[in-house]
Symmetry: C2
Subunit: 365 residues, 2 copies
Amino acid sequence: MVSQKKIDPWGSLDIKDYRKLFEDFGIESFDKYKNKLKDNRYVRRGIIFGHRDFGKIMNAIEGKKPYIMMTGLMPSGKFHLGHKMVADQIIYHQQMGACVYVCSADLEAYVMRGMDLPKAREIALTEYLLNYVALGLDLDNTTFWFQTDYVVPYYRFRDMLSRKVTLNELKGIYGKLSPGKILAVLAQSADILHPQLEQFNGPTPTVVPVGADQDPHIRLTRDLSGRFQLEYGLIPPASTYHKFMRGLQGGKMSSSIPKSAIALSDKPKEAIGKIMSAKTGGRPTVDEQKEKGGVPEECTVYDLFLYHLVEDDDGLELIYRQCKSGELICGECKAKCSDLMAKYLDQHHKKIGKAAKTLEKYLNK
Amino acid sequence: MVSQKKIDPWGSLDIKDYRKLFEDFGIESFDKYKNKLKDNRYVRRGIIFGHRDFGKIMNAIEGKKPYIMMTGLMPSGKFHLGHKMVADQIIYHQQMGACVYVCSADLEAYVMRGMDLPKAREIALTEYLLNYVALGLDLDNTTFWFQTDYVVPYYRFRDMLSRKVTLNELKGIYGKLSPGKILAVLAQSADILHPQLEQFNGPTPTVVPVGADQDPHIRLTRDLSGRFQLEYGLIPPASTYHKFMRGLQGGKMSSSIPKSAIALSDKPKEAIGKIMSAKTGGRPTVDEQKEKGGVPEECTVYDLFLYHLVEDDDGLELIYRQCKSGELICGECKAKCSDLMAKYLDQHHKKIGKAAKTLEKYLNK
């Protein structure tokens, strides 16, 4: 393995973009767990860069004690490589021994995004859950639920949360409110906390892997857990924070901008098309690039290697160095990326076939 | 039967107190249904004085078509004669052929009144439901539920309501809001409307008997039903409005002021004590009363006859006239009332014994 110092091409961006999260909001650097969790690509490469209270989870992992990994999915559009990053984390924790809880935020989709519920449900199953399974999620050891179709103790707890929070507090965190938004927020807290109720796992350390934009919600939920301390002894949930993959066009990666994201259902040909038109860190001319070298830190194709396509750090470092030195120019690099991506998608599509059967069995249980 | 003109001792109060409900809020007088529903004491005596949209319900009754009677109970304290008035209406509608839905507003008790849920549940069962059964409710033809313990389509619908209402709209109706209040309000609307979902009865005329103070909620719920017109074809719920019994001390009747209310679990002796110290419409001296006559309109003992103890209108009119003429003075009248009340409570307590068995069977089903 290559040292972090050498291979940490995001390091400098980290500090610029994420330092204020550490300083202003008390998110802690994930560095201290890098060595212990070095088998995780996202940890090793600083993509998971911060946490709150992760010590509890590390203790549980090391002590082989129970812990909960909770996450939600927003069923909106195709499952793409940005979502895969979260899926990989879910599966990683499952393999580390976590009880996995996965929620389809269809209430939020309905009230905040105006989606139909049947449509939200279909997307949750056919895009998200199916790909989770194909990526390695063990459904038999997963609690999966829809916010609009679950069990009474969950709804009861969600309702109970409403007594423990004021409207001003929610306004301070979420700005302009609506009845739907308030419900969605309470649902999200209940999603995270209810696995600790006695009807589920009971009080158990819980980790929620999120993007930094979700931190306000983590803070609220941690606060709310304390307000049920006497009643239920809830343990404030821990969190980890990951960076977002940028879209292939340079902006946001979103399933509503097809060229920004490679969906895991994309045919290799489609994916290659997107890679070919992706924004890179290349120079205006080949000559200039050969002279000055590329800027992988600004390259969305490099992101594909970094996040998904190259597990081996030496291999990644090689690409990084070759780019920096001007040895590897964008056309060649994109061809290399396309090749890896096509292979990856081919393999994944085979897994999807098998996953579909597993999912069907699970749903008919 | 005595004519309304003669026997309507509340008539003048009616007009003073309730006219603005007709004029300002569009509640309609119940007079047009008085003759058709003259077998109902509360209708006949103008205690049920107003309605919205009751025509639909009258049509259903006359056409022997399905309709729904929905009501909620607030599980707070002892079941008293004020609650009995509502119970009698539930049972009346059940006997007229209505599908009865009764909700225990334990979420509201929890979020708005700071009650414990187990306590709220116990009160709902041992005070309210038990007395409903003793008074004649047929549990086998009743859907009874707790807001915190029910079925998914109800929770889903409650959540869905949140998309169809704004915070400003709720503020306009309910004033200062809190997350708990918002949830309780949405729950109340879902309580009323969900029986019309396809998982329950499907679109069906629904009547909600309430006090006039509940009208803002009826209006909101009627509005909300319209916003689900396309999706679910909900019929705006009808409502009837009843007057409130005054407390025996003259103020509010409330189980939190024991002397204000005769609980149906009161021993006859306790009840008699309350009657003996009740505020009457009597004059300062017996002589003055014999000369000028009493004021039954201001008498809480007369209320007991009017609402509960005297079914026969001629009998009631006799008391009214004897009071007005000065023939019946308060001591004698209280003795008469005490006698009737003691008999009533004795009978009711016997029914309670039987009802307890019925309820136990129902709860263990």
